[in-house]
């Protein structure tokens, strides 16, 4: 199934506004790009227990301007290394958003008023999110971004384009 019409379910972990990439993965760990090694240090300065608690398939729900600061795609790889399936935020910093799309981490902009631990059901095709006591909607990807998302990564997308040129 393509990501853009996937159904995603997972338990949420809540983070606040302006979570910067130095919080997501401090610069001292940028000596590796290995998602598993990076994942051990996810949010360790502000949420030291989080990396250990998060389970495969969980969802991050954050506030405004998630992923601001440096261009390090280690931030996306760290989140992927933790097994996080989806990041929902009220808004994203632009390079983090690009990196997520380009590396195949689904990210959507929505406001979710549900407590930590709630299980969300996200319909990527319809742009709808619902949980036991509420629901929300989000803007689906524009057609161009949908192509990249469905290719799995910017690398796959570029390969397909290069093949077309040959």
């Amino acid at each position: 199934m393509k990501l853009s019409n996937d159904l995603i379910s997972g338990k949420i972990w809540r983070l606040g506004d302006n979570v910067d990439t130095d919080q997501i993965i401090p610069a001292k760990y940028l000596v590796t790009s290995d998602p598993d090694k990076l994942a051990m240090h996810f949010m360790e300065n502000t949420h030291p227990e989080l990396a250990k608690s998060i389970g495969k398939g969980d969802i991050i729900v954050a506030g405004r301007n998630f992923g601001c600061g440096s261009s390090r795609e280690h931030a996306v790889k760290t989140i992927q290394g933790c097994g996080i399936r989806l990041v929902i935020a009220e808004s994203f910093a632009r390079i983090f958003f690009r990196n997520s799309i380009n590396l195949g981490l689904p990210v959507i902009e929505a406001k979710i008023e549900a407590p930590e631990g709630t299980v969300l059901n996200v319909d990527m095709e319809k742009g709808r999110i619902h949980w036991d006591s509420g629901e929300s909607e989000f803007q689906k990807y524009p057609p161009f971004l949908k192509k990249i998302v469905d290719s799995g990564s910017i690398i796959n997308y570029a390969k397909e384009g290069l093949i077309r040129q040959k």
């Binding site: 302006n18 910067d20 940028l30 000596v31 301007n65 261009s71 390079i95 570029a158």
Partner: protein, 423 residues
């Protein structure tokens, strides 16, 4: 109602995509250059090799800077990957330790950034080249690797926010103070996805170096890029440097702006960003916190003009016994100029430490990392929690004159206070 005129960023994306586009369109555009450093280069190289094509050598610029000279074996392994790639493909634009420096300074100094050029860099402060009229955008390492092979990338054409600084700035107000003031007005996401265009007498009166500081920190407001219309000062800077022919570019007078801010230059004063957020700004006159370290360097404020200003304050004075002053020139050229102008000697005699260029401690890498509870006043760009070291350390952002003054008094202070207290 929508006008037909275009902003500078709309013009550049129209030219580079071959389509007539305005803000909001998503385009695939041809890049003039793509730059990576030792942190983002390795993933770019991995991505590039998956494409199975020849590299677009003339477009690729490789500049190790974050952790070079290597701080440990892991960082040495990363920069070796960049170096091996450069030599394997005989890359014309690789800048080795001792011949380069902080990537953005090198991109401008070596003439890659020119008016109207479209440049992508795998570093968030790539927006700096807007000071020279280039449209330059921070991206991730993987997509940079795709550009290595294709020369092209997707972009959303951003809306433009105009900041018009009306009137002349006081001589104590530097580019750093202007941009910190603007960030405090719009907030750390106030410019998200936008191009920030700076105009007016206040900007025209500033030298190219101060303009670079302003464009550099557009990313701290969440912006995609910055733009300043090139003028005679830009032309003089580019004269002996530019690698390509260029022409003057500006936004049309009937262009569509997202917002326009009119700012009275006389309202601006030297400021400090308090620990935690670049937007949490106070006048220097209201802050006198004690400091352990004073740091001058980075792509934001590590140019020769910045070191000259610091030296001017330090001349004949001593760094406070409890404080350490660390000065890191932003490029080999800046370092050489600082030596030949006698600034290194002057700073050393004042009790300051001067090193060669590196991003180093700006991002908590090395050469000045902070311990638990330590406070640093810094000419760099970010004061997030734990940015320069331990999670319980604190970073205050200021212009290099204020940093130098603070190093002398051991607390945050303006140069004027130093002149009054230390005769």
């Amino acid at each position: 109602m929508k006008n037909n005129g275009k902003t500078a960023v709309e013009k550049v994306f129209s030219e580079k995509s071959g389509e007539d586009v305005y803000a909001g369109s998503i385009v695939e555009a041809e890049l003039d250059y793509v730059m990576v450093n030792d942190i983002t280069g390795p993933s770019a190289i991995d991505a590039f090799y998956q494409l199975d094509v020849e590299p677009k050598k003339e477009k690729i610029v490789l500049i190790p800077d974050h952790f070079v000279p290597s701080k440990d074996i892991a960082s040495a392994t990363q920069s070796k990957k960049l170096r091996d790639f450069a030599w394997k493909h005989e890359m014309p634009n690789y800048f080795e330790v001792g011949r380069g420096g902080v990537c953005h300074q090198v991109m401008m100094e070596k003439g890659f950034a020119t008016p109207g050029a479209l440049i992508a860099g795998a570093d968030s402060h790539t927006c700096t080249y807007g000071a020279l009229g280039a449209i330059s955008v921070g991206i991730g390492g993987t997509e940079a690797g795709v550009i290595f092979g294709t020369g092209r990338m997707w972009f959303k054409v951003p809306e433009t926010m105009m900041f018009r600084i009306n009137g002349e700035l006081d001589s104590s107000v530097e580019g750093k103070d202007v941009i910190l003031n603007l960030i405090s007005r719009i907030g750390v996401e106030g410019g998200r996805y936008k191009c920030l265009e700076f105009r007016g007498e206040g900007v025209e009166g500033l030298g190219v170096s101060d303009r670079m500081t302003m464009a550099n920190m557009a990313s701290e407001a969440g912006a995609k890029c910055a733009f300043m219309a090139p003028d005679k000062k830009t032309e003089d800077y580019l004269n002996s440097r530019s690698r390509k022919t260029w022409s003057f570019i500006d936004s049309d007078s009937d262009a569509n702006y997202d917002r326009i801010f009119d700012i009275d230059a006389s309202e601006l004063e030297p400021v400090v960003s308090m620990p935690g957020s670049p937007a949490d700004v106070k006048p220097v006159s209201e802050v006198n916190d004690e400091i352990d370290q004073a740091y001058i360097g980075s792509c934001t404020n590590g140019r020769i003009e910045d070191i000259r200003r610091a030296a001017q304050v330090l001349k004949g004075k001593k760094v406070h016994p409890r404080t350490r002053l660390i000065v890191v020139p932003s490029s080999q050229q800046v370092f050489e100029d600082a030596v030949s102008e006698g600034l290194v000697k002057l700073i050393a005699e004042a009790g300051g430490y001067v090193s060669g260029p590196t991003c180093g401690a700006c991002l908590g890498g090395y050469m000045g990392v902070l311990g638990p509870g330590e406070r640093c006043i810094s000419s760099t760009n970010r004061n997030f929690l734990g940015r320069m070291g331990d999670k319980d350390s604190k970073v205050y952002l200021a212009n290099p004159s204020v940093v130098a003054a603070s190093s002398i008094l051991g607390r945050i202070a303006s140069p004027r206070e130093v002149y009054e207290i230390v005769k």
